[in-house]
């Protein structure tokens, strides 16, 4: 499909590239892997018992009370294996489960044991044993053994990369934008001004590269605020970001790693069960995943997506129909490269004696085991790197035996 606009855009992309003589721009010609790995950070502490209800547990209904999901009726949960289910809103994820593209983790947690969102996210993203033990992100450190640390092999769908992807290795960031990109000559003049500011210079180089790529990938990039508003959809719609990520990842010369943020899980009040606040957010997430799968096209088969949150929430509802900060929760591994259809849960029940401090899901599986499993079996990172630089002091945490088809 060639129209005037897309030809102009292609011409522009070419001219934008020609002004940059850095050879790194073409680094993807020999990218070391064609596998894709996406991490979705669920900020705010997703309620694991809402996303993955253990409906077969004898104490499920009584512990969850007003938050308990039904197995029948108008909003039934999706049964997975007779014991666990998926929240009714997770329709596309259920399809992935049926196609054996989804592994569900339950009672999983980072090594963090307190209940601060911000420290919890710090541990989840740094891969350290406690908050602020490490200063950069585990996924950034993993770029070196993956051979992706010299180009723009890793992309944050954000204005600036989140901590998980931040560190010494070079990464890029991208978001859909309304404003026209300035002409290449102007950008070259700005770049010259950054000669003594290496941070801004690296950042600008990276942005130009990704933007050029995105221009080529987005055949229907919105140009006006009205088109943009339409594209962004309603508040909380995740599909524009997930679609953008999918389109960029789908390119042969595109990034291999992407990180997305999806916040809005801190359900202290009126969480809702089959319908309500949390259900709407889960529906948006589920739609986003489906949009990314569509955008990835055949590359979906080479893709693994991990979705993780900083910690879970209390098993029982609080005084306001919500849940407070807890410990372990649920996580997900999905994608065409995943050999799924299993729930990995060291399930110990919901009796108060089985819960941590009598209130939280107990941390039975270390989140790093999941991350290490994907890095090891999908991205082919050696165990010595995983135990050394990527997740220091994690030798006792074995990579989770997740399976991949490709």
């Amino acid at each position: 499909m060639f129209n005037r606009r897309s030809i102009l855009k292609t011409a522009f992309a070419a001219s934008a590239m020609s002004v940059w003589d850095a050879p790194v721009r073409f680094a993807f010609a020999n990218v070391p892997t064609d596998r894709r790995f996406v991490v979705v950070i669920l900020r705010g502490a997703l309620d694991g018992l809402a996303a993955v209800p253990p409906h077969g547990d004898p104490d499920y209904k009584s512990v969850r009370g007003i938050l308990a999901l039904d197995t029948t009726g108008t909003m039934p949960l999706h049964d997975l294996d007779g014991h666990f289910g998926l929240h009714p809103a997770l329709i596309n994820m259920k399809t992935m489960w049926d196609q054996k593209e989804l592994v569900v983790f339950q009672n999983i947690s980072s090594p963090y044991r307190d209940r601060s969102h911000f420290d919890g996210q710090n541990v989840l993203e740094t891969g350290g044993t406690g908050p602020h033990v490490l200063g950069d992100g585990w996924l950034n450190r993993a770029l070196v053994p993956m051979g992706l640390s010299t180009g723009d092999g890793a992309l944050a769908i954000a204005a600036s990369p989140p901590l998980m992807l931040s560190g010494p290795a070079r990464v890029s960031s991208w978001m859909p934008s309304v404003m026209p990109q300035p002409d290449a000559a102007f950008l070259k003049r700005v770049r010259a001004l950054y000669a003594d500011d290496p941070i801004l210079r690296a950042s600008l180089d990276s942005a130009i590269h990704t933007e050029t790529e995105a221009d080529a990938a987005m055949d229907d990039k919105p140009k006006t605020p009205e088109q943009m508003a339409q594209r962004m959809g309603s508040y909380g719609d995740l599909t524009p970001l997930f679609t953008g990520a999918g389109k960029l990842l789908a390119r042969d010369d595109g990034p291999r790693i992407a990180v997305l943020d999806a916040s809005g899980w801190d359900t202290h009040v009126n969480e809702g069960a089959g319908d309500g606040q949390l259900a709407r957010r889960l529906r948006a997430l589920d739609a986003g995943l489906d949009a990314m799968k569509t955008a990835l096209g055949p590359v979906w088969k080479k893709t693994a997506v991990v979705m993780a949150t900083e910690f879970g929430r209390t098993a029982a509802p609080n005084g306001n129909g919500g849940t407070d900060h807890g410990t372990a929760g649920a996580a997900f591994l999905l994608g065409g490269a995943v050999e799924g259809g299993v729930v990995k849960a060291d399930w110990t029940g919901l009796k108060p004696s089985a819960l941590k401090d009598g209130r939280d899901q107990p941390p039975q599986t270390d989140m790093r085991a999941l991350f290490k499993g994907v890095l090891s079996d999908h991205m082919r990172v050696a165990r010595r790197d995983l135990d050394g630089t990527v997740f220091p002091d994690s030798g006792s945490v074995a990579p989770s035996g997740v399976l991949f088809t490709a």
Binding site: R43, R115, F118, S160, S172, M179, L193, I199, S203, S263
Partner: protein, 460 residues
Amino acid sequence: MSLEGAVAAQRFGLGARPGEIETASAAPKAWLLRQLDSPVDQPQPLDSGTAFKSGGDLVTALIQYRKDREREKAQATANMPAPDPVKVFFKTQVQEYSREMAARFAVGFTTQKPFAERLVWFWSNHFVVSALNPAAITFVGAFEREAIRPNVAGKFEDMLLASTRHPAMQLYLDNALSIGPDSIAGRISGKGLNENLGRELMELHTLGVDGGFTQADVIALAKILTGWSIDRDGGTTGFRYYPARHEPGDIVLRGKIYNGGEEAGIAALKDLARDAATARHIARKFAIAFIADNPPPESVARLEKSFKDTGGDLKALAATAVNDPASWKPGSGKMRSPVEYTTAAMRMLGWPRTTTDQDKQVKGVMAATRMMGEFPMAAPSPKGWPDSSDAWSGPDALLNRIQWAKELGNRLPQNFDALAVADASLGPLLRADTRAAMKSSANSGEAVALLVSSPEFQRR
């Protein structure tokens, strides 16, 4: 123009307006501290609409809306469904929030007391309420006007109390709904505690995450604060203590027993405000904001000592930062946040340049700022917007700024004297190569775009 005068406007202020560096240059430290001797500016509506509402009036409106909703629901029939009062109500509230923020931006563009305004922004990003929370959106403007602005040169504990008791905070961190399980209301309704405010009060507002508190303390503080809520009758402030919701009996918080209704909460907050961990937490955060991403430990220690010695006097704290030698060290500064960045550009250009369309111009800047990734009083979490250079220098963030700088240049008149503006706004901070690049620009619009894209303008 002195280098110190330029640094004062750049690092402690909001970027210089025309003439500001001259004013500051005579005695830069005195110029900064003098700004704290009179009340800070209060935002005023830019349009001809109604005056901004107080917290009490806003609670009254919220209660009225809830009554309307119930009545409309009851009157709705199958053929005539009730209009969606939630939609109508929140549409009005979003508009009101937008008016408040436009007024706030305009204060930033024009204020003669830019250091005082920076302090307002700092404290509003410490005691965070966010418009992303639908319950709080109505209230965030009033929160800053009522709880933050009057206290930026006052006592920390007064700001802590004003913040905690404001309807915005009560709603944002869910305390308005928290009920003592053993209180009269708790036993009748079966409803209970909400830990959200109790936790963030200690973790974010006072002690800091490593300040020495446990989950048991979180529950204790939540219990101590039961009964604190929004006033069902609106009232003057919108805050009210409901004894029937208060958890009875002795409550142990960090080893100390509290008992005594509303006063127990006030006492607990004052104890937290005066705790050594709070002094440490605030000192570090203040140093990061005004000195450097990694401030020298001795600077942090001086701020901590000031906070402790003065019982949390925020004017003394500001003076300590101003008088710290590290604050005046030239060299690449911190990256401006998007709000600081667009504000600095508008100040440099001497906004308003026209008497008409001011509201529209501000809204345009607001939209651009939002796209750069930040918006006032709308932080993604109770922790507030990040205050590190890393957070604002990412590739996409930077490209957005350059795009905006270009658009900004395109809109300036042809005869615009870009170099004069650059000299007035940056003084000795304008680097030779930026000046040279501007000089060799095809037109003044491009010269301004280069200036606004330059490292010395991105940083402060």
